[in-house]
Amino acid sequence: MSGNQRSRTARNLSGTSSPLTPAVFYILIALADGDRHGYAIMQEVSKRSGGTVRLGPGTLYGAISRLLRDGLIEETEERPDPKVDDSRRRYYRLTGQGVRALSAEAKRLEGLARLARSTEIVRKLRDA
């Protein structure tokens, strides 16, 4: 993928017209607090979603592959010490573009929630 295509896709991902999928959103959130490897991302997603989102290895690495391609995350240089941890583990972190995509999506969701709260039905449900 060329640089132009990559930046165009990333702009689409971070733009309000193209919402992130729940899996991608949760992965970005899981990486917001620091670098993590695959299994740690899975655990963090499960924890933060209250167990409602359970990513399998296929879904997780499919999403990671697209996030790497779009430049929203990157692989860190550090490798675990083979004596301490499995050398197959790779660690990932958010890029600047990933931070912007995450904050744009958070703003979009906030706007939607505000819109929903402004309706009569939701106000009644909250008061009940």
């Binding site: 193209s18 299994y39 359970r54 290895p57 296929g58 879904t59 997780l60 690495y61 197959r88 583990r89």
Partner: protein
């Protein structure tokens, strides 16, 4: 605690074989990590050992596999340069359709055989127990195939397409 009933090394080996269904590039890049994550999940996730939990774990694993296979294959085939460059990719792309057709043929054959044997004796016969298990397994396999086909179609329809002008659009 590991899921009882299957040795964790055997489970990893089984999952390693299933990873062969992914496109070669994806498998080469993420296969070892996926295997490691599967191993971690298998050994570290709390399982109470009940039959239902065991089945749920494997169903989730297969569902995840089938669902992501479609997406990854469509993505691999959508990379036109790669398809044009590699004859091996074209041959490899026949694996999934061949697997689906083969399993459907096998399922049809099993259904026909079991029905032919069961009908003259009626479903009250002692053989009905294993026959019903076989029917259940077959139904499970068909559901998985259905999910796979749906996933392929869904991934195909949702994949970004390139217009003549070179602009990517999302359906």
């Amino acid at each position: 605690m590991a899921v009882p009933g299957l040795n964790s090394r055997f489970a990893e080996r089984l999952y390693g074989r299933l990873l062969l269904l992914y496109p070669r590039d994806f498998r080469a890049r993420f296969g070892p990590e996926m295997l490691r994550v599967f191993g971690d999940t298998y050994e570290l996730e709390p399982q109470d050992g009940s039959f239902v939990k065991r089945i749920a774990f494997w169903l989730h694993t297969f569902y995840d596999l089938v669902q992501s296979l479609g997406t990854e294959w469509v993505e691999a085939l959508a990379t036109t340069e790669r398809v044009a460059l590699s004859v091996a990719t074209f041959v490899e792309s026949l694996v999934i359709p061949a697997a689906i057709c083969g399993t459907l043929t096998l399922a049809g054959f099993i259904t026909a055989t079991l029905t032919r044997r069961a009908l003259p004796r009626g479903f009250e016969s002692p053989a009905a127990e294993w026959q019903s298990t076989a029917f259940a397994l077959e139904a499970g396999a068909l559901v998985m195939i259905g999910l796979g086909v749906a996933s392929l179609l869904g991934a195909y329809l949702m994949a970004p397409r390139r217009r003549a002008s070179g602009v990517w659009i999302k359906l």
